[in-house]
Amino acid sequence: MMRWLPEDVSTFGGEIDHLFYIIYYITGAAFILVTVLMVLFLIMYRQREGRRATYTHGNTALEITWTVIPAIVFISLSFMSVSSWGKIKSHAPPSDFELQVTAKQFNWEILYPGPDGKFGTPDDFQTDNDIHVPVNKVIRITLKSRDVIHSFFLPNLRLKQDAVPGRDILVWFEATKPGKYELPCAELCGFGHSGMRGWLFVHAPEEYQKWAQQTWAQKR
């Protein structure tokens, strides 16, 4: 029906969108039902001469029904969410592609391990705000912050995680389609918050290799 979320290019995005739409349709249906009934009842049972209000204190069966049904719906929704949550948050798949992203007022510092694949060596390479990654590969990112709390938000990858000073937080994603995707900061971080924006460039594997070779060459 309504597909107004940003394009999903993530391996786990479909699962999140699925949950989102389930909740969206359930609440949407409830909203429409309640609104229609309200208007209907307002008209049907409006004040009329000589008609008395029906006297009732309630109906226990009815009361239990409309408490139990939503409770079941919500508890099953929680179970569904919990399994997706665990998959995305608790169990990051292994990968040989690692990055460090350090947030600061008001930039994203992206640290590549360089050709040797290890951090803390002289060939580490740092850029500001632009992340280049290959498509169809698990990317593991260690999030840090230098000053205040920022939030690493990739709407197209359905990924959002706060970067908290004093903590190293692991996030991961796997992009399924090459392109250029927005990376805004999603936690108020000061007067430059609205301008704190980076880009994620997802390349085809050979293009990524080309970019990496050029970049490492430049550095030397």
Partner: protein, 427 residues
Amino acid sequence: MSDSAAITAAHAVHAHHEELGFWRTYVFSTDHKMIGRQFLFLGLFMLVIGGLLAMTMRWELAWPETAVPGLGWIPEPYAYGGIIPPQTYNAFFTMHATIMIFFVVMPIMVGGFGNFLIPLMIGAGDMAFPKLNLLSFWTGLVSGIVMLAGFFVPGGPAASGWTAYAPLSAVATFTGVEWGQHLWIISLIILGASSLMGSINYITTIVNMRAPGMTYFRMPLVIWSLFITAILLLLALPVLTAALAMLLFDRMFGTSFFLPQGGGEPLLWQHLFWFFGHPEVYVLVLPAMGVTSDILSTFSRKPIFGYHAMAFSMIAIAFLSWVVWGHHMFISGMNPLLGTAFMMSAGDAMGRVHSFYRSHAFRSRLRLELSDRRAERHLHGLHAGRYLHPRHLLHRRALPLRRRRHHLRALRRGLLLVSQDVRPDDE
């Protein structure tokens, strides 16, 4: 005492009241009705300020970096010929949210309706502690003044959002706001004291001063909602106050409760804040639910549909609001396992809240009869000869007075519908 004597006595009491003079009647009043009105007007005044701030923000969103009409007088660097820079925008939305939550919804719904309605609807003469009540309002007013003073100090008001996430709020250089944030913290600490006095008063009054026959499950739902709100405030606000004090110490005295470089933990602020913040959500909404329930049932001239269910679901919400704070923090960096636990609890609580809404919605709509002025006329016509009117104000379920038929008339007259002053045993 005969009716005429009672009325004479009432007049005498009223005459006595009028002797209090202007200051004791309108300014430093201990009368719950006047204090309720004071809270109402404080809330309405702040509503205008908070609303104007919101409109400025909306203008900035609709036409970014254009001058907001009428704001040319704001000096640089807070605005440039009416154009609102990012720093001022942040300050405005921080103050908008803070004002709307702490100085509009809370004073009007809790302070205003609470003070005005609780004694009248449970048949008490006044609040349990009238002077504490007076103090509660004036402390609240001081708190409001301190909050607004932020606009007039160098650096402008607080600009770290109403949630004031540390470390942004804990170090002045991160926002460039020095005293504005101090005042924000101090103001909320004072407001905490004010709300605490209010909630102690509400709870004591509702527990101890209900009129004979007014059992807990005969109280109108609005009283139930205010009762639960007061309990939530009593337990939640000290947590916020403690967190605010820690934040103030971090800012002013070099402690590191929330600063990682000194061994502190930024997430501690979020845990403390949301431990207060989630019950606060229900503080804001429960009184409105109570009011809506009573108004709808009164004007559809039916008893509350499922009175007990409503009361119990409000109690359930209150309990659950203490275990779901983590759902404000899913992406905050807390342990994912905690996230799982909170997701379950939040899901469960949401279920309950939702069913509350649902039952609320259906209940009020079953065979609803619209009542407007026509209906009022209809009513007046009915009770011209007999004493039927109270039946529509007192829902039978909330006050099933039939069980004590001999008390019926005295209660109806003396309890809710006739001024407290008629009852001589009040004082």
